[in-house]
Amino acid sequence: MNWRPFIEHADVLWAGLFLTLRLMVFGIIGSAIVGVTIGALGVSSQYFLRQLCATYVEVMRNVPLVVKLFFLYFILGLDAFPAALLGLVIHQSAFIADVTSAGLRSIPHEQTEAAFATGLGDVQSFIYVLFPQFLRVTIPAFTNQAIELLKNSALVSLIGLQDLTFVAQNIQIETYRYKESFIVVTTLYVALTFAIVGVMSALQRRLRTH
């Protein structure tokens, strides 16, 4: 096996990895914020708010990511990186919203009643009582969603964004080093997956000691 092409193209590879990393970090943060908000609104006491969130979740979950990315980039005409980030965030936030709603519903209703009895309002009881408990329960599911976001980020190469998949394809086409390319890219994606799992476990450990 000849690794020379990868050492020569290391800067391009690093640029692709860095773009994937940026998409991953901003994507996870963005979709977590949007997803948790919509999920929290999805268990609220207002009927129309619940239905609105349910509609958003169902629509955004059932339309494939490729369709959304193409629509944002080719039809709406956004630039490549914003279109990719927006598409990923919208797509993943629907799944995170579903996970959030399930997690919030799993907290016993006595907690909400106790919070109301102590005089906390709707939003306050969410922030101080429900949210910490819910975080502890749903971190494993969040980890899964983060890994799914990483895997979905490979699709942005279809819009022409130069992420890791795109760069690897380029190197592979130029140098015909298929086996080495496969090993390098697989290792990088698995390494990124391990990084996500590590960060999430550290987060979980910190939450448990509180």
Partner: protein, 234 residues
């Protein structure tokens, strides 16, 4: 109820879309949809066979084989599906020397993807059956094979049904990736029509509606079967 409101809003805005242009291409688009459905169903069926082998190896095989099966499942589930598709299309012919048609590469790639997700579903289903069932079977004097066939397997299959349908939904949405290999599935057909007639909003509205209807119907069935199941991403 909100769905009815959403449909009403959609009909209001979509009144002046050029649906009649799309209607002229209905045969082409329906053929694409058929290709998508066939690709999904074939990959699930054949992937199920491979998945059964993988799952039983992972749960009941000798130790070294168990590691191999676990490694295969975890690696295939950790790398993006687009990568798997591209490797099967570009790399495998290079390594084996034979030419693969795009349809064959797509089918093989989706079978690999389906098999690894289904192996996890099967493993979950088998592990969800209470250990008590095994022990009761042993206590009654049944053999291992007969316990598996008559007691454990029916319960496991009933438990894995929601996850199975959810995997179907995931695979249905993943078939849009076959676009890069050149297969004329539904999404590719719609983009071809769009590039010919230049009616982007109509085309993408139709894409969204069709994918939504197909996946939502199955998702409703999943939720009917198991209200607590959380559908995974794709």
């Amino acid at each position: 109820m909100c769905l009815a409101a959403a449909i009403a809003v959609l009909i209001y805005f979509a009144r002046d879309f050029e649906w009649h242009i799309l209607w002229r291409y209905r045969q082409f688009l329906l053929e694409g949809l058929l290709t998508t459905l066939v690709l999904t169903s074939v990959s699930i069926s054949l992937g199920m066979v491979v998945a059964i082998v993988l799952a039983t190896t992972r749960l009941y095989g000798p130790r070294w084989l168990r590691y191999v099966a676990t490694a295969i499942i975890e690696i295939v589930r950790a790398i993006p599906q687009l990568l798997i598709l591209l490797w099967v299309f570009f790399v495998v012919p290079e390594l084996s020397g034979r030419k693969f048609t795009p349809e064959l590469s797509a089918t093989i790639a989706f079978i690999i993807i389906a098999a690894s997700y289904l192996a996890e579903v099967i493993r979950g289903g088998l592990m969800s059956v209470d250990r008590l069932q095994f022990e009761s079977g042993y206590a009654t004097g049944l053999s291992k094979a007969s316990i598996f066939m008559s007691i454990v397997l029916p319960q496991a299959v009933r438990n894995m049904l929601p996850a199975l349908l959810a995997t179907w939904i995931m695979l249905f949405k993943t078939t849009t990736l076959a676009y890069v290999i050149g297969i004329i599935e539904f999404f590719h057909a719609a983009t071809i029509v769009n590039s010919r007639e230049l009616i982007p909003y109509t085309t993408y509205a139709m894409l969204a509606i069709v994918y939504f209807v197909c996946c939502y119907v199955i998702a409703v069935i999943v939720r009917r079967l198991d209200p607590k199941y959380v559908l995974r991403s794709a």
